[in-house]
Symmetry: C2
């Protein structure tokens, strides 16, 4: 699988949040849901940043943020008391999709989960995202579960 | 929908963990995955109990634990900086299934999420659990997503 040696990953800072929000908005499936940058996004960033169980990650290429994802580490009684990693809000800048950056970002996430002792990595993706399904299939993920959502607001 | 006035809910203690594990094991889809009660389960309980973003819940009927679920509160940048509740490891004692206790437990969870300010409740359930799909459909959940898993161990 292709590896871009100039792609780097780091934990996001508050200054990255407008760019992360722009990446989330640049999406035909859910792009309109995320709102204009404001106090609620800053508060969410502070909550993530203060929580050792959550990491907001950005991918950088030539000093520019080109990707993002959020990692959540969830302890549980099931599967032998296993820690699981959950990945949410995965995006690569639209002009750079299909070039392997997403695979590199996901493989980096899986390795980070392994290093932290996770026994399982999980994520959900909208059923309309057929390209994403092929992408996660190619990375060895198994679509074994139905992903249910209930909006409260 | 039926309501059993004797069904109560509370945060689990360490003493509940063997019973929770027995509920998880009493399941034809994943029952064999959870292991014999031991140090890893106790450590997982301590991690959950110490984390304000996680709650391990038990349902009691006449002083007996008859159900369990884990609630995780995940802050995020998406959806306007929304907090989401995730529900994992939902079980009702096998002899009591189909009587409405699970619906009562899930509605309680949704209300707890609403009280904590969650904009979304989410969960995944194995595609083999057809009864569970009808159950979540009946509670208003929408199976909009594919649930992907990658086992690391």
């Amino acid at each position: 699988m292709p590896v871009n040696p100039y792609l780097t990953f780091r934990v996001a800072t508050l200054e990255d949040v407008p760019t992360i929000l722009a990446l989330l908005a640049d999406d035909s499936t859910s792009g309109s849901q995320h709102g204009e940058y404001g106090e609620a996004h800053r508060a969410a960033f502070e909550a993530i940043d203060a929580d050792p169980g959550n990491e907001l990650i950005v991918a950088e290429l030539d000093g520019e943020v080109v990707g993002t994802m959020q990692l959540t580490y969830i302890p549980g009684i099931s599967r032998g008391g296993a820690l699981r990693m959950q990945i949410e809000a995965v995006r690569i800048a639209s002009g750079l999709r299909g070039g392997g950056l997403g695979g590199q970002m996901l493989r980096w996430a899986v390795e980070r989960g392994r290093t932290r002792g996770c026994a399982l990595v999980q994520l959900t993706t909208n059923k309309a995202r057929k390209d994403a399904h092929r992408f996660y299939d190619s990375l060895g993920f198994v679509a074994s579960h139905e992903g249910y959502k209930l909006a409260l607001s």
